[in-house]
């Protein structure tokens, strides 16, 4: 199959999900209409019936339902109630499911260092926040490059999950080759600290399973009601894997100057891993969308030359790897991306959807990236939070005027929102439904 055929087949599975039990014929009709609307906007072949609507919320549904982020992370039922209320009340064409808050008790059992979450380092009323650090040191590139999985298992994971610290002692799997000496590799499993850690992991696994079950049930329920989940899973730009997860912002910046070749090589090694991660998630969910949150390539974070050398080539390689398998990359360019619009336009038409956040001139985004890709977003977080319904209405119309012509635009915001006035979200939705119709 060509990549176009593969994408078409993927979309077909999403538009007509096998085994889905819709609540009623209307729900099924709505589901088809919503998925088709999004598909048409992305493929850029047919004009959708109206501009699709996707509300990219993080913790706002939780506030809207009157519970705290802490409640959402520690009580899956309450969490699902909140996200269901949000989706049913505002009826977006695409939704993210209910997995954004995540399982607090699991993070606690694992003693996760990379984040602070409500009641665990930040107030119960606030969202979780990342604790950046140098979880990989500057001299560990060779270890990462030589054997990424082994590096993650033995070095990175024990550093970010305190519960996994004793597992540093576990054997390197590729050293288990023949009968002679094989048992020696397994001695660490007999050590009390390792055994205690494994017991904790079993408990954490049970909690994760419980949460996963709740999320799966939510997906089925919301689909049955006619609301499509728009993301199957995620992958990342290799630069962000190293900059967000492993080395931190300061660390990766130093590497750009002090060891650029190692950084480039490590990113190249991450490309097939990131492709596999995305394709696997999409196939598992029969859903073509793979989200790619973009962080360290925003305006100002890198010079143009640095972006072209360090950020874009491996991100593009990951995206092309997904596209070749019919998967639709869904990058979210949080922060400004004004200086990158031309560079990232180097993609086949109708294969990607881009969430944009702080673009100064969306008409320019439409003229550049919008020529080859569906663009989404740019409703400002500040206006949602502090503006008036009149401002929101005007901004919604402005976005539609600038971007919707000829299709290829999804109404959305660009940075996940925790805060918004209810009347603003209402005005945003109503204006899109009214003003966004293609005549």
């Amino acid at each position: 199959m060509t990549r176009e055929e593969k994408q078409e087949a993927f979309f077909a599975k999403w538009v007509s999900p096998e085994g889905a039990k819709f609540a009623n014929p209307q729900a099924e009709k709505d589901y088809k209409a919503r998925t088709t609307r999004i598909k048409d906007a992305i493929q850029m072949k047919k004009l959708p019936d109206r501009v699709p609507l996707y509300l990219s919320a993080s913790f706002w549904p939780v506030a809207y339902a009157g519970i705290t982020p802490y409640d959402a992370m520690y009580d899956y039922e309450k969490n699902n109630m909140a996200f269901k209320k949000f989706i049913v009340d505002f009826k977006p064409d695409g939704n993210l499911g209910a997995a954004v808050p995540g399982p607090g008790r699991f993070f606690e059992l694992m003693d996760y260092k990379l984040y602070s979450w409500p009641g665990h380092g930040v107030p119960k009323e606030h969202s979780y926040q990342a604790n950046e650090g140098e979880y990989m040191t500057a001299d560990e590139y060779d270890d990462l490059i030589e054997d990424p999985s082994n590096y993650f298992n033995k070095v990175y994971l024990p550093r970010v999950f305190k519960a996994m610290e004793p597992l540093q002692a576990l054997p390197t799997a590729t050293g288990i080759l023949e009968m002679y000496g094989v048992a020696g590799n397994f001695i660490p499993y007999g050590l009390p600290p390792v055994q205690a850690a494994l017991k904790t992991l079993m408990k954490a696994g049970e909690e994760a399973l419980k949460w996963g079950g709740a999320m799966g049930a939510f997906g089925a329920e919301i689909t049955a009601l006619g609301y499509p989940v728009i993301v199957a899973g995620y992958t990342k730009a290799p630069f962000d894997v190293i900059g967000d997860t492993l080395r931190g912002t300061r660390g990766i910046i130093m590497d750009i100057y002090r060891q650029p070749d190692k950084l480039l090589k490590a990113m190249e090694h991450l490309v097939p891993i990131m492709i596999k991660m995305g394709v696997g998630a999409a196939k598992g969910a029969n859903n073509p969308f793979i989200f790619i949150p973009l962080h360290k390539g925003a305006d100002g974070f890198l010079s143009d030359a640095q972006y072209k050398k360090f950020y874009w080539p491996t991100l593009r390689a990951v995206m092309m790897g997904l596209i070749e398998e019919g998967v639709v990359p869904f990058p979210a360019a949080e922060g400004g991306y004004n200086s990158r619009l031309e560079v990232v336009s180097d993609l086949p038409k109708g294969t990607t959807v881009w969430m944009l956040d702080q673009i100064d001139d969306m008409a320019r985004a439409k003229r550049t990236l919008g020529k080859v890709a569906c663009i989404a977003g740019n409703m400002p977080s500040a206006t949602l939070s502090l503006g008036t319904p009149e401002q929101i209405k005007a901004e919604t119309k402005r976005l539609i005027d600038a971007c919707a012509k000829g299709g290829g635009y999804i109404m959305s915001n660009g940075s996940f929102f925790d805060e918004a006035k209810v009347e603003n979200v209402r005005a945003w939705v109503d204006t899109t439904l009214e003003y966004g119709v293609y005549k």
Partner: protein, 210 residues
């Protein structure tokens, strides 16, 4: 002819700059003169950032080189501390928000620009800002925040400063990922800086006006 430290550091040539410093210190050069040249380099770095020639990585990297230079020079300073001429500035990430990358860059740029920076860290309670203004007499406060949740914490901080009767003599700037004019008006701050150098420019403007 000794190579020019100011130019070398401003051009971010790390090893060369460190070597020049080492040679000058070994030759008995005045450590204060070395630091003076280095701080001139940082001014050039800031100017290049303002002009769009340098970006965040260049600022961060210049800071790292400066750190290495300081490590060489500091032991030779023998009690002489550099005099901060730019006045006191209090900086912190507001309550509930633990993001520090942007704040740290602002602190660094203010510091190399000669300001006496009091860095309160992250998740700073409202009262701590008020208390620090009282105890230090700093006329300028910078509030940092990455989340939209920070809008309210910023507003509460500004309100508390007002309530404590300190608003008249305190200039307040805000900054962060989702900050714009709308947010500035909401919080009641005097200005917002879109990046670290804009923050330094505000602090300079307010210091000069005094």
């Amino acid at each position: 002819m000794a190579k020019d430290l100011t130019k070398t550091l401003a051009d971010l040539k790390e090893d060369e700059a460190v070597e020049i410093v080492q040679n000058r210190i070994n030759a008995g050069d005045d450590p204060m003169a070395v630091l003076h040249d280095a701080s001139q380099a940082m001014e050039i770095v800031g100017a290049r950032f303002s002009k769009g020639e340098y970006f965040i990585p260049d600022l961060v990297y210049s800071g790292e080189i400066l750190k290495r230079i300081n490590e060489i020079v500091k032991p030779k300073l023998a009690g002489a501390t550099s005099v901060k001429k730019g006045g006191k500035v209090i900086i912190g990430t507001v309550a509930g928000d633990i993001h520090d990358i942007g704040k740290d860059i602002v602190v660094f740029m203010l510091d190399v620009s000669g300001f006496d920076v009091i860095d309160l860290g992250v998740d700073v309670p409202v009262q701590k800002f008020v208390d620090t203004i009282k105890s230090s007499g700093a006329p300028i406060v910078g509030l940092s925040g990455f989340l939209t949740l920070a809008y309210d914490a910023m507003k509460e901080t500004v309100d508390a400063i007002k309530k404590a009767g300190l608003r008249e003599k305190t200039k307040i700037m805000i900054g962060g990922g989702q900050i714009n004019d709308e947010v500035m008006k909401y919080t009641g701050a005097d200005a917002y800086g879109k990046d670290a150098v804009a923050g330094v420019a505000l602090a300079r403007k307010w210091s000069a006006a005094k």
